[in-house]
């Protein structure tokens, strides 16, 4: 295969293919309080570009992709495709889904033909184009198979064939490789990059949401880092390495490091990027981190080869954790004062080391002190339970408080996390049958 650099593809500075101007999205909660998930996002996808969006969960990146696709209407701002407004799904924009979204009752051919059928294209033409797309994506021989007969990788190939068969200008990819195993994902990614760089598909621009940093650095010309609460573009990193990219090259590693750094730093209030997290409020979106996992991570950080200090990409690799699994843990360690993150590196703090060295009972003690000090929600729950005569309170009471700040789903998740922490630290006990928090058995 010839080495194709990005210079081989003309990147004209023309009108953008897809253009988002000041896009914001507010979801209305049941009690009609607006909850902002996206704020003031400006973005343009130009011809010849692959753009990747990275961000923590809850950064609204998936919502943003759906707004660009015309599946969700923005609350503010607008989206334009080739100069025309996007008010619903437009022809020329195709999407590939994380869960493949294949119709189980249609064969591979039926699924691929679906979009053409909806366009009213004749049966013969449809068949010809679908078979071509199926061949292109390497599925020949499976035309009459049903999706359930195929492996995950093959299913996603159908997903790509279905998208490519309509000859889209723009491909929107919603974490298309994240449901696949590592090797399958790698193969499919390379096949897509080959099709793209050899111009065998008419697609002029690709926008991909991902949570895999290496994947983004490997594919994209540009990486957008989304921040959360509310979601917005925090940083933009151009990637000008030639294709195909070597994951072990110094340039590649450097960009990966840079992305890690950007993803783990919280922009300070004055716009400066400070590494020190500010004190959090009652309705803070606590990271999804169970105590067992936190303890495991602290233990690995203490042991060689890290000895209390680690490069995040290295840590993710060593612990075999995807970034969306690693980040919540790191955020929690920072929050509890057990670790300190800067420049894509993580260091255990004194408290963290003390926790690592302690025995099981003292660990509980240290953990309890940390959460009472750093998590206002936990302190609040304990205070309420102390004040109540029966020392009991339904979980729903705190859920309602959280729902003032978070979506219903997020509120439940945060409460689950806090209950996990509180139970472990023996700050309260929880009866999951009655969904009641109490100070019983102490």
């Amino acid at each position: 295969m010839s080495v194709v650099t990005e210079l081989d593809r003309p990147t004209k500075i023309a009108a953008p293919l897809l253009w988002a101007i000041g896009v914001a999205k507010t979801y209305r909660t049941p009690d009609h309080i607006g909850r902002l998930v996206l704020e003031g996002v400006d973005f343009s996808l130009r011809e010849g570009e692959i753009v990747a969006i990275l961000g923590k969960s809850g950064s609204g990146k998936s919502t943003f992709l759906r707004i660009l696709a015309g599946l969700i209407a923005p609350s503010q701002g607008r989206v334009e495709y080739r100069g025309g407004p996007v008010t619903g799904p437009v022809r020329g924009v195709a999407m590939v889904f994380q869960s493949f979204a294949l119709f189980p009752w249609l064969t591979v051919l039926g699924n691929v033909e679906l979009g053409l059928e909806a366009q009213g294209i004749s049966a013969a033409e449809r068949r010809r184009r679908a078979v071509d797309a199926i061949d292109l994506i390497g599925l020949d021989g499976f035309e009459n198979a049903y999706p359930k007969e195929l492996s995950g990788g093959m299913r996603q190939r159908v997903g790509f064939a279905r998208a490519l068969v309509v000859n889209p200008d723009i491909l929107l990819l919603d974490e298309p490789f994240s449901a696949l195993d590592v090797l399958t994902a790698e193969t499919l990614r390379n096949d897509l990059l080959d099709l793209w760089s050899e111009s065998r598909i008419p697609t002029k621009g690709i926008l991909m949401v991902s949570h895999n940093i290496e994947e983004a650095v490997e594919m994209a010309n540009r990486i957008l880092i989304f921040g959360s609460d509310p979601g917005r573009i925090n940083a933009e990193i151009p990637v000008s390495l030639p294709q195909p990219r070597d994951r072990d090259s110094a340039g590649f590693r450097q960009i990966v490091d840079q992305v890690y750094t950007l993803l783990t730093t919280v922009p300070g209030r004055d716009g400066r990027r400070g590494a020190k997290p500010e004190p959090i409020g009652l309705g803070h979106r606590l990271p999804d981190a169970a105590v067992q996992q936190l303890t495991g991570l602290i233990d690995s950080l203490t042991d060689p080869p890290f000895n209390g200090h680690a490069d995040l990409p290295h840590l993710a690799d060593e612990e075999n954790l995807a970034v969306d699994e690693l980040f919540p843990l790191i955020e929690a360690l920072q929050l509890l004062g057990f670790a300190h993150v800067s420049g894509g590196d993580i260091d255990l703090t004194a408290a963290g080391r003390r926790y690592a060295d302690a025995d099981m009972l003292s660990r509980k003690q240290i953990f309890a002190e940390a959460v009472m000090k750093h998590v206002p929600l936990l302190a609040h729950i304990r205070r309420v339970l102390d004040e109540r005569p029966g020392h009991r309170a339904p979980a729903a009471r705190f859920l309602r408080e959280l729902e003032d700040h978070l979506s219903e789903e997020e509120a439940e998740r945060v409460l689950d996390t806090v209950i996990n922490w509180g139970r472990h630290a023996e700050i309260f006990s929880y009866d999951s049958d009655d969904e009641v928090l109490s100070l019983e058995n102490f």
Binding site: A94, F103, A118
Partner: protein, 578 residues
Amino acid sequence: MEQRWGLPLIAWPSRLRPNAWDLVALPLVLGLLALVAWGGWAMGARYHIGEVLPISLDPWRLPEYSLRTVLRMAAALVASLVFSLVYAALAAKSRQAEKILIPVLDVLQSVPILGFLSITVTGFIALFPGRLLGVECAAIFAIFTSQAWNMTFSLYQSLRTVPVELIEAARMYHLSAWGRFWRLEVPHAVPALVWNMMMSVSGGWFFVVASEAITVSGQSILLPGIGSYIATAIEQRDLGAIGYAVGVMLVVILLYDQLLFRPLLAWSRKFRGDPGPDEDSVRPWFLIVLQRARLFDLVQIGVLALNRATDRGIALLSRSWPEQDRARPLPPAFERLFDAALLVLAAAAVAWGIVFIRASVAPAEIGWVVLLGLITAIRVLILIALASLIWVPIGVWIGLRPRFADRAQPVVQFLAAFPANLFFPAAVVLILHFGLNPEIWLSPLMILGTQWYILFNVIGGTTALPAELKLAASNLGVRRWLWWRRLILPAIFPAYVTGAVTASGGSWNASIVSEVVQWGDTTLRATGIGAYIAQYTAEGDPARITLGIGVLCVYVLALNRLLWRRLYELAAERLRLD
């Protein structure tokens, strides 16, 4: 279709040339068409109220009678299907419609089926004056009411649970609303719908027998059919004739099962996303005939072409309409207004009902009817408990032996489908012979036909129990009572609750026919709300029928809310095995 397939035979694509399977399929299909045509003609016959349709007990008339019954059943099934599609689609697509339609459906579900018959028959007869069709329609409507509600519920639930990403894919690839309904939403609903159809038809057989003998303004009309045959046999105390009817019913249900439901079930597996456990079970023979015979390729192509034409037509029509998702939420003020209007309407309906009943019924009698309801409720609950005591151990025993369970499933399904009311006369003969107390011994009739749901679900629940749990239990030395308490009972609980709910609902419905049972001129009567409704239905007293049905509905709804739904939630939250 005409221009395309009107070509000479030789020019047909090879897949459409007849083959040997057509030799089987063609006579079957032609025979079916002829029978339907004849049945339809017979339904439209002239008829005047007061005319007596002679029902002969000659067993040779039974095939004809059963055909008439089967056609009624089929017509009701088609009507239920159409109704479900329209009603469920409306409820799933419009928030405003949903607010009315779903509670209404909930109530309709608990109205005793024979209650509909007494209320609606006069209207249907007025629709087709001088024709038998009116009475036929009333009977079909009664069967329809025994089938439509749970099919509609199943469809509505499926429509609301289409995976979000599939909907997004459909929108991204520009399927029209019509296309989305037929290509995505309905296929998604097919497996649950087919299953519920099967259950509905099982219930339908029970009521087809009961609904053929219709009473209008004090006169009873016997529509030609198995039900009327049995009614006549009961009147003439002819046990032999009842034996014939039972035999024919067996054959008819077997045919329905083999020709309709086995193929349908096998076909519906295609619509499931993930291969189910019984994926590799044997394909039903009739489905093989259908799929191999070229004749059906032709039919299929015809259907597809028709579908495509409609698709295109609708697409042309809908191109001008903006694509609408689930209706956008209206301003809160408007929504509150809508809710208030609904409440006022409901209150008005209740008030009218009370006035209507109070006009001819004294308060003391209302109290009495409430008490009657309580008696029937106690009967239902005791019977469910008794049936559980018997069938749970047996079901577990069968479920733990997979080879046995495979063979038992269709048998139990068949037993559930068999109209238990065919055996009522035998019960009466026994009660009379031994001089038993009808208050007690009539009760088991209520659950005769519905107990099978408990057995069926317990077998299913036990088979689904992971082998590892059983191994772990025996490894820990968990045995006897502890084994039941800690392993089996919690494991089968969700399945058991589903079965018990179905059995309970069916028993309430059956109370109307089983609390009063006749044999010739002997009538056995048990005290209960079913007997009350049956009595005033025979006498034609609308106020008391409304009262009885209203009270019964309240009981069924209350029992559902207070008992079954809680058990359901408990099962769903804590005892799920995944």
